[in-house]
Amino acid sequence: MLNPLNPKRVSQFSISKIGENDDDNKDSVTYSEKFNRFALSDGVSGASYSREWAHLLTTGFVKNPFVKNDFDIKSWITPLQIAWYNTVPWESLQSKSTPEYMLRKAEDGGAATFLGGLFFTINEKTILKICALGDTNLFLVRGNENILSFPLTVSEEFGIDPDMFFSLPKDVNDPTSSQVGKLLYTEIDIQKDDLLICASDSISNWYVDSLKNPFYKSDGTAILPWIKLEQISSKDEFRNFITEKVNCKKMKNDDSTLLILRF
C-alpha cells in the first residue's frame, strides 16, 4: 500500500485568549507525520483540568485513532478518563488547607470538544477520515474554493454550548454519558496542493463568516480567509492576527488554535 500524501508544509499555533497568560490556554493540538494523524481539542474554560483533558484526547487519538462510524467509543474514552483521573492531585485537593470549592470543581470534571483526522490510502488515493464532536472545525480548500467545512458550515451553528467529551462519565452506568452530542464522521480525498485548515471555534466562526461575506480589496477581488491564515508564519503573527480580529469585533476573544497542512 502506498503511503498517503505528505504535506509540504505544516504550521500550528495556539494562544490563550487576549488578556490571559499562556498557561491559561486550554486548547490542545497534535499532528503526527509519522502516523498521518492529527487532532485538535478545545477544553472548556470554566472547568478545572480541562487543558489536561484536551491534551489526553488529542494525544490519545494520535496514538490510538478510531475510524469506524459504528466504533464503540466507550472502549476508547474510558482509558483516557482514567488517565485524566490519575492526573488530578486528589490528595492535595482533599487536604484541610484546600478550600472545598476547588475539590468540588475538580470532581465536576473537565470537558472538551474534539476533531480528529486520519490519512490513509485506498486505490492509490489519499483519503482523510475525520471525526468531530463540537465546534472545532476543519476546512478543505482546493484551488480557489473551500470545498469542505466540517462539522459546522454556517455561523449560526456556533453556539455557547457545543457538543463535547467529558473527563468523567455523568452516569457511571450509562456508556453514552461521557459525551453530549453525536460524534460526526466524514471522509474526503486529498489531492496535491490541497490546503487543510483545522481551527478552534472562534477562528472557525470567523472563517465561515468570511466565506459568506468576504472582504473586498479596492480592485474588487475578494480576500478569502484561508489566504490570511496560510500567511501566518509565527506565533507572534498569529497573536497579532487574532488580536486585530478580536479588537474589531470580527472574532470572539477565546483561546485560539490553528493547524494548517499544505499538500
Binding site: 488578556g19 491559561d24 484541610k96 478550600p99 472545598e100 476547588m102 462519565p169
Partner: protein
C-alpha cells in the same frame, strides 16, 4: 460601547461591598429566622465562594478580580475592613489574597464521587469526608450607621483603582444597609463615586435596603417612572444608585425577573430572595 471590557488577569475587575454593621442588623431578616447581619455575611461569603470557584483552575486562583469589603457601624464614625485579617489600607485585594485571608470552617459531609473501578470503568463511591469551607465576613451589629464615611473610604479606594486600571470593566460597588444613616448625608459622595470611570464606563454603585419587616412590599430594580418612594430614605438610596447595564438586565430577564429598560440597581425592603437575586444580577460581570 461601554461596559463591554473583557475581565481577565491583565485587565481585572473591581467588586466592592459596603456592609452596614449597625445595631439594628441584629434584627431578623424578613423571610428568615436569622439576624440580617448573619444572612448578609452568609451570602457575601457564598458570593465569594462562587467567585473563587469560577476563577479557580485546579489549585490555582486566577486574579481576574480585586475585592474590597468595608463594614460600617460601631461608634460614631467607625469604618473598618469587613474581611478577616485584612486591613482597610490593604484594600483592594486580589482573589488569591482573598482566598488566603479566609477562615476555614471544617465540616463533615457525605459525598458521592466517581472513581475508577479498577477494571474498565468508573463506580460511584459514597463516603463521609471532612471539607474546609472558607468564610470571610463576621456578622457584626453594633452602634451607628456611618454610611457617608464608608462611601468616602470606597471613593478613595476606587479613585486609586481606576487610575491604575484605565481599560478595565468599571468598578461595581454594592452598599447593603437596613436603615437610615446617622452621620453626614452620603448622597454627595455617592455622586462623586459614580463619576469615577475607566475607559469602559462609570463606576456602578448599587444599593440594597434589606428588611426585617415583611409587611411592606419589596421593590427591586425600579425605574424612575415606576418608583413611588415609600419614604425619604428610599428616594435617596434610589437617587444614589446607578442604572443597571444591559447585560445585567438581560441576565435578570433570563431569571424571569421583570426588569424594565432604565431600571436602577436598587432594592428596597428586600427580603431574602430579593437580596440573593440582587447580588446575582448586580455582579453579573463576575459570571
Amino acid at each position: 460601547m461601554t461596559y463591554a471590557a473583557e475581565i481577565s488577569r491583565n485587565n481585572p475587575g473591581l467588586i466592592g461591598f459596603l456592609i452596614d454593621q449597625s445595631g439594628s442588623m441584629d434584627d431578623k431578616m424578613a423571610g428568615t429566622n436569622d439576624p440580617k447581619a448573619t444572612m448578609c455575611a452568609r451570602y457575601i461569603d457564598a458570593f465569594f465562594n462562587r467567585l473563587l470557584t469560577k476563577n479557580a483552575e485546579g489549585e490555582v486562583i486566577k486574579n481576574r478580580f480585586e475585592i474590597f469589603a468595608i463594614g460600617y457601624g460601631g461608634m460614631e464614625k467607625d469604618v473598618s475592613s469587613a474581611l478577616n485579617g485584612i486591613d482597610l489600607n490593604e484594600m483592594p485585594i486580589s482573589l488569591q489574597k482573598l482566598q488566603q485571608s479566609s477562615v476555614m470552617e471544617s465540616r463533615k459531609k457525605t459525598v458521592t464521587k466517581k472513581v475508577p473501578d479498577g477494571a474498565d470503568g468508573f463506580i460511584e463511591k459514597t463516603e463521609e469526608v471532612e471539607v474546609s469551607v472558607p468564610k470571610w465576613i463576621e456578622p457584626i451589629s453594633d452602634g451607628w450607621t456611618p454610611m457617608n464615611e464608608a462611601l468616602t473610604e470606597a471613593y478613595n479606594i476606587t479613585t486609586n483603582w481606576v487610575e491604575e486600571h484605565k481599560t478595565s470593566y468599571p468598578p461595581i460597588i454594592i452598599n447593603i444597609t437596613d436603615g437610615m444613616y446617622n452621620t453626614e448625608d452620603p448622597e454627595e459622595i455617592s455622586e462623586e463615586l459614580r463619576k469615577l470611570e475607566t475607559e469602559d464606563g462609570n463606576t456602578l454603585f448599587f444599593n440594597i435596603h434589606i428588611s426585617d419587616n415583611a409587611t411592606n412590599a419589596p421593590i427591586s430594580f425600579p425605574t424612575r417612572t415606576s418608583f413611588s418612594p415609600p419614604d425619604d430614605l428610599a428616594e435617596k438610596l434610589f437617587r444614589m444608585s446607578s442604572p443597571l447595564v444591559e447585560a445585567m438586565v438581560e441576565h435578570g430577564r433570563r431569571k424571569d425577573k421583570k426588569i424594565d429598560p432604565g431600571a436602577v440597581g436598587f432594592a428596597y425592603n428586600a427580603e431574602f430572595g430579593d437580596f440573593i437575586d440582587f447580588l446575582d444580577i448586580g455582579t453579573r460581570p463576575a459570571g
